[in-house]
Each structure stands twice: as C-alpha cells, then as structure tokens.
Amino acid sequence: MNASRSTPTNVWLWLFQRVSAVLLVVILGVHLWLANFGQASSSLRAVLGVVLVGLALFHGLNGVRTVIFDFNIGAQGRKFTTMLLLLLGVVSLLFGMYGLWPLIVGG
C-alpha cells in the first residue's frame, strides 16, 4: 500500500541482523572475558545478560527465518514461519529472564 513511502519490514530485519551481529561480537567478547576473569558488578552482568539473551534470540531466530525463506515455501508458509518464530522468541525471552532473575534482582 504505502510500501514506497515506508521502509519494508524485511529491510529493517536485514539492518537489525547486521547491527545485532556487530553488537554480539563485542558483547560475546566481554561475556567470555567475564567468564574467565569475572571482575564486574552484578548489575553490569545483569544488564549484559539481558542484552545478550535478547540480541542472541533475535539474531538466531531471524537467521533461521532467512534460511527457511530461502526454500520456496509460499506466502502462507512465510507468514506461518514468522509467527512461529516470533512465538518461540517471546517464550524463550521470558525463560531467559526467568533464568537471569537471581542476577537481575541482585545477588
């Protein structure tokens, strides 16, 4: 409809995939550093944990979406795939927050 005026969802997803990729490389480096040398306040670790889980979930599931979309699955299949992955993402995010909860509330 107004596709010519607004940026299509796929372009946003492409952009976020790149942005999350770069952020993940940096944050994973910090994550590995902390896992080995472990010198950070628990609040910083909580923030890093939440950001890492969120970014990794988006990047991973959007990557799976890209791979699936490369097989010709039709408009219906694409819609179903997106919805399924979105649901999976939300559930996983909640589970991740549940796991990180002791860190988030402080410990």
Binding site: R18, L28, A35, V64, G99, P102
Partner: protein, 141 residues
C-alpha cells in the same frame, strides 16, 4: 523437491563441492554454523538457568556447581564447548566480513579474500586466547 536437490548437488550444481569457490563455502558454513549455534545457545542458556534456579546463592557458587561434579569429568562436554568456541569464532568473524561487504568495504575480489583470511586469522588467535586462559577454569587441566 528431489529434482531441485539433484540440480543443486549434481554435475554443474551450485552446491556441488567441485564447483564451490571460497565465497560459496563461506556462505554455506555460515548458514550451517548459524543453525548449530541456535541449538547451542538454547542448550547453554537452559543449562545455566537450570543450575542457577536449582542452586541458590551468588553466581559464582552457581557456576562452580556447573564446573565440577559431572559436567567436565566427561570429556565430550569439553570437546563440544571447544568445537562451539571455534564455530562461534568463525561465524562471528565471517559475519563481520558480510557486514563490511554490505557497507561497501572490501568489495573487490582481491581485498575481499584478504579481509576473509585476516578475519579467520583473528578468529584463530581469539580462540587460542580463550583456550589458553579459559581452559584451566573449565576444568580441562
């Protein structure tokens, strides 16, 4: 479906190893490693969440619980972690190449190859550092 697969992998097919050049290998490995990493990340998060919910106390106690008793006695777990480290390093550095390419850096065929191998070298060095400093803590001493 079978015909499409045959066309892809058969004589003259794009995914026939005989026809695959460096860029196609990088593309294919990036995809497969990505799918493997999704499974790994889920397993990683579930394992640590489980531990942190079962074991009460600060994070260090929780991670100590993960570190000793059964987990790293089994060398396969350690092997999987090391394999994942390599896969993450490759996926990350090859991903940087893709981002650079998309932003117009290193688009030429020659510089593209140089960038690829430079990033792979960085991946190897970074993995080496993590193994050197991290292995004793993983219990692999």
């Amino acid at each position: 479906m079978t015909r499409r697969i045959a066309r892809l992998f058969g004589r003259g097919g794009d995914l026939n190893p005989r026809n695959m050049r460096l860029g196609v290998w990088a593309w294919l490995i990036q995809r497969i490693s990505g799918l493997v990493l999704v499974v790994f990340v889920v397993a990683h998060v579930v394992a640590i969440s489980q531990a942190s919910l079962v074991t009460k106390g600060p994070l260090f106690t929780i991670l100590d619980g993960l570190r000793n008793p059964f987990w790293y006695v089994d060398r396969t777990a350690l092997a999987i972690d090391l394999l994942m480290l390599g896969i993450i390093a490759f996926h990350g550095m090859n991903g940087i190449r893709i981002v650079l390419f998309d932003t117009g850096i290193g688009v030429g065929l020659r510089s593209h190859k140089v960038i690829f191998w430079t990033l792979i070298a960085i991946a190897v060095v970074a993995s080496g550092l993590v193994i050197y400093y991290g292995l004793p803590m993983l219990g692999g001493t």
